[in-house]
């Protein structure tokens, strides 16, 4: 269980409040108007924005002050998820050892993950030699080897076309199902939420509301969400 108890998050003066819990294995979309604080919520869970009040915990362990790299979190950002000077295999390998000293078993794991996302022949390529979709796949391969129980997506597929984006979301769904990971995904597209998320955290008025069932919420939106959905 991921718990945010009476939490206040400070993002450079903007304060977001949250008092909610996410069940393990949940697939949650975080939606809200732009600037509402979607990325702030995700960033706080990942350790990039300080939790100034309340408790942030995972399986009972308090995370408030844990450094980003030592949280049970794998995260994909809006862009820049790959280091352009490293090959696909190296970028994926970082998920196992940040200094890229990999033993044979780890290298094998990297190869398997790359194969799983369908990039087998491209291990030695640099990101610049990949298409946008392939870059996303490479980043997902790293998420796979990281094996963290929480996967946070801050709109990493926003720059992809609709078909490609759906393809990536399906891949994410498969990977999450295989690992039993908990997914929190920022989205501004309600169709994404319907496609992949069973629950939705709505952010409005400086507050992140507890998760609600996706279908119910989107079918009967409260006024703030209705205004956003148009």
């Amino acid at each position: 269980m991921l718990k945010l108890e009476q939490v206040e998050i400070d993002n450079g003066g903007f304060v977001l409040r949250a008092d909610l819990a996410v069940p393990e294995g949940g697939k949650i979309a975080v939606i809200g108007a732009s600037g509402a604080g979607k990325s702030t919520l995700i960033g706080a869970i990942a350790g990039f924005h300080p939790v100034v009040r309340g408790r942030l915990s995972w399986r009972g362990e308090i995370l408030n002050d844990a450094p980003p790299g030592q949280r049970p979190v794998a995260m994909l950002f809006q862009d820049g998820n790959l280091f352009p000077h490293l090959s696909v295999a190296q970028n994926v390998g970082l998920g196992l050892n940040p200094d890229l000293r990999l033993n044979a078993a780890q290298s094998e794991k990297v190869r398997e993950a790359i194969a799983r996302v369908g990039l087998s022949e491209m291990e030695t390529r640099r990101p610049a030699a990949l298409s946008g979709g392939q870059q996303s796949r490479a980043a997902l391969a790293r998420v796979l080897v990281q094996g963290r129980p929480l996967l946070l997506l801050d709109e990493p597929f926003a720059a992809l076309g609709p078909a490609l984006k759906n393809e990536m979301l399906d891949l994410v769904q498969d990977l999450v199902r295989e690992n039993g990971a908990t997914l929190l995904m920022v989205s501004h597209d309600p169709m994404d939420a319907r496609r992949i998320a069973s629950q939705v955290i709505l952010i409005e008025g400086g507050t992140a509301h507890p998760p609600q069932a996706t279908g119910e919420l989107l079918d009967n939106p409260p006024p703030a969400l209705r205004a956003y959905l148009g």
Binding site: G47, F48, N64, P68, G69, A74, P84, L86, L94, P98
Partner: protein, 518 residues
């Protein structure tokens, strides 16, 4: 970020900044304490101040005024070799002063090319020594700098503005008043201030082309008090004057100049509709040709005069060359060891004080630092034994502001763009440094190293203060050969110096970009 998490530490940068500040401020303090202020300033000192300010003002004025038409011509013309010419405008920055001076002598000197042509017309030869020689050399060095800065101003006028003005039927006059004059009003003061500040601390040019009671800069007077009279108190007092002058000039320059420097993207000519007339075309062409000749002839002269002497260089030149290479490499190493941690700290946003320490080098002139170091070292050891290490150290500190200017923006970019990803992958510290920051900054590190190496290789400053007859760097050896009227050997050694400086710059810069990927 939560608990201030950063992908790399900021302490090393603080340590480096403290070292730099301690060195510079320590030298200034030593100079202040040693100066005998009670003695007051002699008439010669006032003359020195006056000459220093006048030559710097004239140099700034001529460089700035001449750069305007040149920059305009380059901004509105496309021609084969334009890129090369603009790249070449960056070269004087790393050109050893003594090489340029020898080149100027060959072209504008008493027996130079121009005097020769004047002789054919029955006119007397040129006199290059004195105020006009000093200003001429400074214009040679700073016209290109001014041109680059002003050209950048021109290219920052959005192309849409020119299109709009053309659509309104604006001719050259209207274009000038509408777009170009406002830009120049914004850019030119900064350019003048920067060049003025640079020329205030001019030493090597004044040493070779000035001198005498009428043409001595403060920097040169420090050297003379030191070498000829061994009057440390007077050298220290002159250093205090120099500190006040350069400090004020640096403050003014920082205030009015914009934060650019090594402009990139200057090779994009703007589409213009107002300068198609034949007169404008001839004017621009003539200006570009004249400028290219002015800048290239001295270098060509060194090549022509030096090549025959290359194979009979005296042994002293070989030793001096090795000394110079050692000094240049050591100085480059020190520059990088100081500037990289400082750049990282500044990039992390923890570096107001560090930035300040990095700028201190601009406010202190090499000979002032040298005098300070001499005063500090003198009671402890024989300063002349330490001539080469001291030269390397001072050169490193002098190159620091430029290195930081190259490194900081890139470090900021890398930390902002890849910091969060690295943190989320638990790469903080060594792995981030080795796997991300250094590889991503290779090109900038190479450029900074190349600049620092070439500047140190060509430096003729502190070494002149500290060297005994047995010890010299290559630039000093060239100067000594000139002083001994061995012009053939001097030209050969100067050519060697030119080639080595450029080669050092090229190999570091190239090494940084070798196999580098976007």
């Amino acid at each position: 970020m939560a608990d201030g998490a950063q992908p790399v530490g900021h302490r090393a940068g603080l340590v480096a900044a403290v070292l730099v500040a301690a060195l510079i401020l320590g030298c200034l303090l030593a100079v202040f304490l040693r100066a005998e202020t009670g003695r007051g300033m002699a008439a010669a000192d006032w003359a020195g101040v006056r000459f220093t300010v006048v030559q710097a003002a004239l140099s700034a004025l001529f460089s700035g005024v001449l750069a305007v038409p040149l920059a305009r011509a380059l901004a509105r013309r496309r021609f084969a070799g334009r890129r090369l010419l603009i790249a070449l405008l960056g070269a004087p920055f790393i050109l050893p002063v003594i090489v340029a001076v020898l080149g100027m002598l060959a072209v504008f000197g008493r027996n130079g090319w121009v005097s020769l042509m004047l002789g054919w017309l029955g006119l007397p030869p040129l006199q290059i020594y004195g105020l006009h020689g000093v200003v001429l050399a400074h214009v040679f060095f700073n016209l290109p700098l001014a041109t680059r800065l002003i050209l950048q101003g021109w290219q920052e006028i959005p192309a849409e503005r020119f299109r709009l003005a053309a659509q309104l039927g604006a001719g050259p006059r209207a274009m000038w008043q509408l777009l170009e004059l406002p830009m120049l009003r914004r850019v030119l003061p900064g350019v003048l201030a920067v060049i003025f500040a640079i020329c205030l601390t001019s030493f090597a040019v004044a040493l070779t082309l000035g001198g005498g009671p009428g043409a001595t800069t403060i920097e040169l007077a420090i050297y003379q008090a030191f070498r000829f009279d061994f009057d440390l108190a007077r050298a220290a007092m002159l250093s205090c004057i120099q500190i006040v002058l350069t400090g004020c000039a640096a403050l003014i320059a920082l205030r009015v100049s914009r934060n650019d420097g090594f402009g990139s993207g200057l090779d994009r000519p703007v589409q213009r509709w107002d300068a198609a007339g034949i007169a404008a075309r001839v004017l621009d062409g003539g200006i570009i040709v004249m400028a290219a000749l002015f800048l290239l002839m001295p270098l060509a002269a060194i090549g022509l005069a030096g090549a025959p002497g290359l194979h009979l260089l005296p042994g002293s030149v070989v030793v001096a060359t090795l000394n110079s290479l050692l000094v240049a490499l050591a100085s480059t190493g020190v520059t990088l060891l100081l500037s990289m941690p400082m750049a990282i700290t500044i990039a992390l946003g923890r570096g107001r004080a560090v930035e300040l320490a990095g700028l201190l080098g601009l406010a202190a002139s090499p000979l002032v630092i040298g005098t300070g170091l001499f005063i500090v070292i003198y009671p402890l050891a024989d300063p002349f034994d330490l001539a080469l290490p001291v030269t390397a150290l001072v050169n490193a500190v002098m190159a620091l502001p430029f290195a930081l200017r190259i490194l900081v923006p890139r470090a900021q970019q890398v930390v902002t763009r890849y910091g969060p990803l690295a943190l989320s992958l638990d790469m903080a510290g060594g792995p981030f440094l080795r796997r991300v920051l250094l590889p991503r900054m290779r090109a900038q590190i190479g450029f900074a190293a190349g600049l620092s190496a070439a500047l140190s290789m060509g430096d003729l400053g502190v070494i002149a203060l500290f060297a005994d007859p047995e010890r010299a760097t290559l630039p000093l050896q060239v100067y000594r050969l000139m002083g001994a009227y061995q012009m053939q050997a001097a030209a050969g050694a100067a050519l060697l110096l030119l080639v080595l400086s450029m080669a050092l710059f090229w190999s570091f810069d190239r090494g940084g970009r070798w196999h580098a990927e976007a």
